[in-house]
């Protein structure tokens, strides 16, 4: 929470003025009972009608001044809270943008989205309420007590006992119920999970005739939830009656002792009424304070979660072990290993290979064997836990990320387009591309045909996630996006999987004929996609089990042969 305070810095003036004005308002409110007591004692008691009119005017003026103070306070606290959340949101977004792949993997996108949206909103509400009430409520409570002391010390002692007692009850009940409400939330989550899971899996549930078991399980969870809700409810239900009893017993004491004090002429009847009025003000404020604390509790939980994201360094630490290597090579992997988490097994281990400029490298292997991890290390998305990756003879850790990524055109496995137009999406690859260059890239990516058929051509709108294009179309557009950059190194991470065989082979020959002859990495599960590569790397469980050309591997690498046969022999089973 403290760490986030720096975002309030630009609003120092507002954050001081808001509570100050709120306090002034409270001060004026505290004067009202005094005015009433004047009316009773001097007005009624002394038969002074002028005094009554005067006090009435005072009360109205106090009201107007209070109103203006309060409006000021509301304005400044809203300004500070909104300014705070705006600054925080912008800086959190920018921080998330700077995250490396490992960070994003670890934190998870849905978590990050929640931090950016609902958590920040909760914190904003908290800050706003805090600025308005954190001074006001204690001020009214203690102010009322002090006012009581100015009237009569002995009677004011009743206040001094009542306030801590009320505080213990209010905060005690809150402290006890917060963990119970957490449990309620956990039980609710279980009910939600069951509902969603059952609904999504309706086909399987019915195929296995599990409707009754599922219903029973749901009802158990549902009843557990209700039970704990009732329990939590019973405890919170104590709050109102207990505070009511305490405050009214205090009133009874006040009147009993007050009556004696009046009897001995120490205080007047009007002052007794004033004391009674202060007592009622205290209760209202304490309840406000309790609800403020509940909000602040939520707010600080959200703030903690946000701070945790802000405190996460943008990238994991990595080491540059060797700075330079052979600069005639485009890409070199020197005994590279990489693990996603410190404790976990390495995703790839001891990988070494060398690639000359303009060569095509094919990477093949089963699902989850480390193919994507390997190619994602070339643009420095992941840094090796051991060993070195060199590009043009320089360790990737020594490049700035902009410098490195400008050299590389990557087509990620997940074909992702962004809201906008076809043009705006392709321009991501190269902002300065001319119309001609855009069409060129589309043509090479075999995407010009279907784009020409679109009513608006390049300016055809793209919906979020590219949902108005088919999987194969999206893949081809993401390929065009990488090609428009005319990169030194082109990486296709299993990015032709949704294309039919004819389109894929047309794409392959288009890529082979690129005039600037980039170094190409092609990741695929199909041997047909990579068989013409200059170098094929066969991975299994993160290890290289074969390196060579298609023909060499067919002879020397049983895994490759098995993959090849599974796709090309006339029925792998009959073999």
């Amino acid at each position: 929470m403290k760490k986030l305070l720096k975002y309030l810095k630009g609003y120092r003036k507002e954050s001081v003025i808001a509570p100050l004005f709120k306090m002034l308002e409270a001060l004026f409110e505290l004067m009202i009972p005094l005015a009433v007591s004047q009316i009773i004692d001097n007005g009624i008691g002394g038969g002074d009608t002028r005094r009554i009119y005067l006090m009435f005017a005072v009360m109205i003026i106090l009201g107007i001044v209070g109103l203006s103070c309060s409006l000021c306070a509301q304005y400044f606290s809203a300004k500070a809270a909104v300014g705070f959340s705006t600054a925080l949101r912008s800086s959190l977004f920018s921080h998330i943008q700077s995250f490396s792949y490992s960070r994003t993997d670890k934190l998870g996108t849905s978590t990050l989205i929640t931090r950016m949206t609902s958590d920040i909103n909760t914190v904003q509400t908290g800050v706003n309420l805090f600025l308005r009430l954190f001074m006001r409520s204690p001020f009214v409570v203690f102010g009322a007590m002090i006012m009581a002391f100015t009237i009569n010390t002995r009677l004011a002692l009743i206040f001094a006992v009542t306030i801590p007692l009320l505080a213990i009850v209010v905060f005690g009940i809150m402290l006890v119920s917060i963990p119970i409400y957490k449990k309620v939330q956990a039980k609710l989550d279980r009910v939600v999970a069951k509902t969603r899971g059952n609904y999504k899996g309706a086909r399987v549930v019915r195929a296995f005739n599990k409707e009754n078991d599922e219903t029973q399980d749901f009802e158990t969870r549902n009843n557990e939830l209700t039970k704990i809700q009732l329990f939590a409810g019973k405890i919170s239900a104590l709050m109102n009656p207990l505070t009511y009893v305490i405050i009214n017993l205090a009133v009874v004491l006040l009147i009993r002792n007050g009556a004696m004090t009046v009897d001995s002429g120490i205080i007047s009847q009007g002052e007794l009424v004033a004391l009674y009025n202060y007592m009622s003000q205290i209760l209202v404020e304490l309840i406000k304070l309790a609800s403020l604390i509940i909000t602040l509790n939520k707010c600080s939980a959200g703030a903690k979660r946000i701070s945790a994201v802000l405190d996460t360094p943008a990238d994991t630490d990595f080491e540059v072990r060797t700075e330079r290597s052979d600069d005639s090579l485009a890409v070199e992997f020197d005994n590279v290993s990489f693990a996603y988490s410190e404790s976990g097994d390495p995703a790839i281990s001891n990988i070494s290979f060398k690639v000359k400029r303009g060569e095509t490298v094919g990477i093949i292997g089963s699902t989850g064997c480390g193919k994507s991890t390997l190619v994602n290390m070339i643009p420095g998305f992941y840094h090796p836990t051991e060993g070195n990756v060199f590009i043009n003879g320089k360790n990737t850790g020594l490049y700035s990320s902009d410098e490195l990524r400008a050299k590389i055109g990557i087509v990620p496995q997940k074909a992702l387009l962004f809201k906008g137009t076809v043009r705006s999406n392709i321009l991501w690859g190269n902002e300065n591309a001319s119309e001609e260059e855009l069409w060129d890239a589309l043509r090479l990516a075999q995407a010009d045909g279907f784009i020409r058929e679109k009513a608006e051509g390049l300016d055809e709108p793209v919906k979020q996630n590219g949902s108005n294009f088919s999987g194969g179309q999206k893949q081809r557009l993401t390929i065009a996006r990488a090609l428009v950059r005319r990169p030194e190194i082109l990486i296709l991470d299993d990015s032709a999987s949704a294309l039919d065989y004819a389109t894929e082979s047309a794409l392959r020959s288009a890529l082979a004929s690129l005039d600037y002859n980039p170094t190409k990495f092609i990741v695929s599960q199909r041997t047909s996609s990579i068989r013409h590569a200059d170098l094929i790397i066969v991975l299994e469980d993160g290890d290289i089990v074969g390196v060579g050309t298609h023909e060499e591997l067919l002879k020397a690498c049983p895994t490759y042969l098995e993959i090849y046969n599974s796709q090309f022999s006339a029925g792998g089973e009959s073999k």
């Binding site: 009201g63 109102n240 004696m260 065989y501």
Partner: protein, 592 residues
């Protein structure tokens, strides 16, 4: 229009009353207790006023009378406190009980929904209806209702008490109070458009956040962080302006109503005091005036709350209507429910003149015929969207045919008990689904009493054993909702293990191995072959290598079976299948 809306709200309200019915004792008690506790709460200031009147000044205090009044006050507050607690507990019982019942009914209803309903309603929508809407409904309704009732009794009670003290001053309170209501309504109306603007901009921002954080890897790969940041900041600035306006203007309600209430208070003090002097304390005493002042604040409070309560009630009824829509969704009755459960299917299946479409406007399957005899392997192939999965939907009776019939051993499937029918099929779908629980629970899903040996044997047959063994807790590894961290391929292997274990009379494999690499696929294929021995099987696949051994291959296009035969026969025909097959298996030499 508005009338219709009100009528619907009324209808919903009547339905709500039905749920309240089992709690009618709670409800009546709650109302009585509320009335009593409100009356006592109002009585206390009067007693206090009386006590104050007995303490006029020095040497003029009647201690004995004060003591007896104070005793009355103590009794009144103790009773009130107990009643308040009971009211809370009763209301909680009703609220949580009603939601619990609604959720239960809704969940049971889901189990009976036709799959067509589930396919056309996203899970997020249903979950939000059964969980959040139900919650909001019960909270809003009961809270709203009790507050409303409480408010009305308070208003009536204070009015009566005030009238008994002094009708003219009461008149002042009654005339001035509604002003705060009007002001509150006025501010709410003016700020509505500001809040709307705020939520529009917020929506815009959320969708940018969603898009860019989900696509962060791509953003980073193209170094677009700065451009996106400036786009974000532009929206953020607009949001900031809109939020400030909305938050500030809406937050003026409280100070303004407080000011108006303060004015009422001052007016009461003024006229009360004047009346007291002019009548010499006969019309109103000091104590009465102090009670009156206490009342004037109590009288205005419910007015401030009621406008909020009414919105809450409306919102609650709207939520209720959404939940009821789910619960009242008509479910087609099924005559087969009464059919006997114990059938011993042989596995002869016939599709006769089957016509089917998901929507009447888009006819899909037209006059489809095929006859499959026991133990045959049927493969269904064709381009995406050609209706392959539809046949499976019809077979499992997730959907029913529009015309024609499907028979199992000569009986129309619509006349066979659904439970029995489905039990006789083992199904692996492209879309994997795993339940929360351990790996073991998931494999034993269709056969909960399976032994460990059986489970491991099934996992081995599905080639899942080796990856399960490597998981931190092996077969006892807990899976979260929807399989958690497992890869798509691993999830598919688990679904296959599930069917390997339960081994029913007939099999359906719908793209069962689509996320598994070709090598593992071939290994599982061998296990499938053994499993399919003597069982009628339906296989949907896009990789033709997996289905060459089938007895019948159905080639589908645009909802119709255009070719039918064995692999060799179809190749000889040199039709659509021939084309498909060659596009997958032709030597990829086009680039040379």
């Amino acid at each position: 229009m508005k009338k219709a809306k009100n009528k619907n709200a009324l209808k919903t309200f009547i339905k709500v009353l039905k749920y309240l019915k089992i709690y009618h004792i709670h409800f009546i008690l709650s109302l009585i207790f509320t009335a009593v506790s409100v009356a006592l709460t109002l009585y206390v200031p009067i007693l206090v006023g009386e006590a104050i009147d007995l303490a006029v000044g020095k040497g003029n205090v009647e201690h004995g009378k004060i003591e007896s009044i104070l005793l009355k006050i103590i009794i009144a507050i103790l009773i009130t406190a107990v009643l308040q607690w009971l009211i809370n507990v009763l209301n909680n019982r009703m609220t949580y009980g009603i939601v619990c019942n609604i959720r239960r009914e809704a969940f049971r209803k889901i189990q009976k929904f036709p799959i067509s309903y589930i396919d056309s309603h996203p899970s997020g929508e249903i979950v939000s209806r059964i969980i959040s809407d139900a919650e909001q409904f019960s909270d809003g309704l009961l809270l709203g209702f009790t507050q409303f009732f409480n408010g009305i009794i308070t208003i009536l009670g204070t009015l009566i008490f005030m009238l008994t003290i002094s009708p003219p001053i009461t008149a002042i309170v009654v005339v001035v109070t509604p002003a705060s209501l009007f002001v509150a309504a006025f501010i709410a109306k003016k700020t509505y458009s500001m809040f709307k603007l705020q939520s529009e901009i917020r929506g815009e921002q959320t969708s940018l956040i969603d898009e860019m954080i989900s696509g962060h890897k791509t953003v980073a790969a193209f170094g677009k962080e700065k451009d996106i940041q400036s786009e974000f900041d532009e929206i953020n600035t607009r949001l900031s302006k809109a939020s400030l306006r909305a938050i500030f203007f809406s937050s003026t309600t409280n100070p303004v109503t407080r000011f108006l209430n303060g004015t009422v208070y001052a007016l009461v003090a003024l006229f009360g005091a004047l009346l007291c002097i002019s009548s010499g304390g006969a019309a109103i005493s000091v104590g009465m005036l102090s009670s009156f002042l206490a009342y004037s604040t109590q009288y205005t409070k419910p007015f401030n709350e009621i406008s909020g309560v009414i919105t809450e009630l409306q919102n609650a009824l709207a939520c209720a209507a959404r939940v009821f829509e789910v619960i009242e969704e008509p479910v087609p009755t099924d005559s087969s429910d009464n059919a006997p459960c114990d059938i011993a299917p042989q596995g002869d299946i016939e599709f006769r003149d089957v016509c089917f479409s998901y929507t009447p406007e888009k006819p899909l399957i037209n006059g489809f015929n095929v006859s499959v005899s026991r133990g045959q392997k049927v493969a269904i192939v064709g381009p995406t969207g050609c209706g392959k999965t539809t046949l499976i939907n019809l077979l499992m009776r997730f959907y029913d045919v529009n015309d024609g019939s499907i028979t199992l051993d000569g009986t129309d499937v619509r006349e066979i008990n659904k439970v029995a029918l489905r039990r006789s099929f083992g199904m692996v779908l492209q879309e994997t689904w795993l339940c929360e629980g351990t790996i073991r629970d998931n494999i034993a899903f269709g056969k909960p009493d399976a032994t460990d040996e059986e489970i491991i044997a099934a996992a081995k047959a599905a080639h899942a054993h080796s990856f399960i063994r490597r998981l931190p807790n092996g077969y006892n590894t807990l899976l979260g909702e929807d399989g958690g961290s497992l890869s798509q391929g691993q999830k598919q292997l688990l679904c296959i293990s599930r069917v390997m274990l339960s081994l029913p009379e007939m099999l359906i494999l719908d793209e069962a191995t689509s996320s598994i690499d070709t090598r593992t696929e071939i290994r599982i294929g061998k296990a499938f072959t053994t499993m399919m021995e003597g069982r009628t099987s339906f296989i949907v696949a896009h990789r033709l290598s997996t289905i060459k051994e089938s007895d019948i291959i159905l080639v589908m296009k645009d909802g119709n079976v255009i070719e039918k035969g064995t692999h060799e026969e179809l190749l000889e025909q040199k039709g659509f299948y021939f084309e498909l097959y060659n596009s997958q298996f032709a030597k990829p030499d086009l680039s040379e």
